[in-house]
């Protein structure tokens, strides 16, 4: 069981922390590709990052590399940075404008807070 109210709270907290630097976020079930909470939700991105994450994890395994831990980052054109956060059964994509959002705040504050809150939502 996943408490979706806690997920909504987590998204609101993320908006408060990153402010106008947050462009979009989605939290979705990895197996079904179903978005459970988000802000400016992007269904295409959900499908894309589910596929990329699956490929990445299998490639790491096949190469005898350590498995994916908490997150990975993509630096994209147009001052956009995507963080894909691994919550286990859930994945989360966070798209930020890296001119407006501080990456230090994203990585050291926002992502650890999301990991804790969503772990709490999944333990219900």
């Amino acid at each position: 069981m996943i408490d979706t109210k806690i997920l909504d709270t987590a998204v609101q907290d993320l908006r408060n922390v990153l402010r106008d630097g947050l462009v979009a976020t989605d939290i979705w079930e990895r197996s079904a590709g179903l978005s459970l909470a988000g802000f400016n939700q992007q269904p295409v991105a959900v499908a894309l990052f589910t596929r990329i994450t699956t490929e990445l994890e299998s490639s790491l395994t096949d190469s005898n590399f350590p498995p994916l831990a908490r997150y990975y980052l993509l630096d994209m054109e147009g001052n956009h940075t995507v963080a894909v956060v691994n919550h286990g059964a859930l994945l989360q994509g966070i798209l930020v404008d890296n001119k407006r959002a501080n990456l230090g705040i994203l990585i050291s504050v926002a992502i650890p807070r999301m990991l804790e809150t969503i772990a709490r939502a999944q333990s219900r």
Binding site: N16, V17, L18, R19, N102, L103, G104, I105, I107, S108, V109, A110, P112, R113
Partner: protein
């Protein structure tokens, strides 16, 4: 002879001589004394000197020393008060408090990997040196009795002073850059302020 004796009895000439001999000399010596205690430090505009005593009461050799000028780091800094629970606000408030109350030209807050959370007056490239610095200090802390959660590092042009604090999510560092290392009192103030902030992150 006659002309000389007349000039020494001339009240206007005597007053002029006294003014030349006493007032300017006292002012010059006061300036030197004030500077000797604060050499090579940024000095705020000097406090206005107290009103000069009447010439008749002042001895020509008297030196009036104004109270020593206090630098902002010598005032007890007010305790950091965070009015918001938002981590970004807390980090910004800590940065502003540091710049306002410590003797520095720049300040930063970084995580223990050297990633900048907020900075002013220092480049992110310089802040990143906190990562390897704090990593190196992990082994230093293995020595019993060594805290090593604060220190100063000469960067070549500036002195970086820093303190470290941790919460359950990791370590955070508050640093300043300036011409001199901070005092031990300033380190205590920074550490307390960082601990207050880190609790909200």
């Amino acid at each position: 002879m006659t002309a000389r004796s007349v000039s020494w009895t001339d009240a206007a000439s005597v007053a002029q001589l006294l003014a030349r001999a006493s007032a300017p000399r006292a002012a010059v010596q006061t300036f030197k004394i004030a500077n000797a205690s604060s050499a090579a430090r940024p000095i705020p505009p000097p406090a206005r000197a107290p009103a000069a005593a009447p010439v008749a009461e002042a001895s020509p050799r008297a030196i009036s020393v104004p109270p020593p000028t206090r630098l902002k780091s010598q005032f007890p800094a007010p305790k950091l008060v965070l009015t918001s629970d938002n981590p970004s606000d807390c980090v910004d408030a800590l940065l502003a408090w540091t710049l306002d109350h410590q003797r520095c030209t720049g300040a930063f807050i970084a995580d223990d990997n050297g990633l900048t959370l907020a900075a002013h007056g220092i480049s992110e490239a310089h802040v990143s040196l906190v990562g390897p610095l704090l990593s190196a200090l992990v082994s230093v802390r293995m020595i019993p009795g060594i805290d090593a959660t604060a220190g100063a590092l000469w960067l070549g042009n500036n002195m970086m002073s820093w303190v470290e604090s941790r919460n359950e999510r990791g370590g955070f560092c508050l640093g300043t850059v300036g011409s001199e290392p901070l005092s031990s009192r300033a380190f205590e103030q920074l550490k307390e302020a960082l601990e207050i902030t880190v609790r909200k992150l």
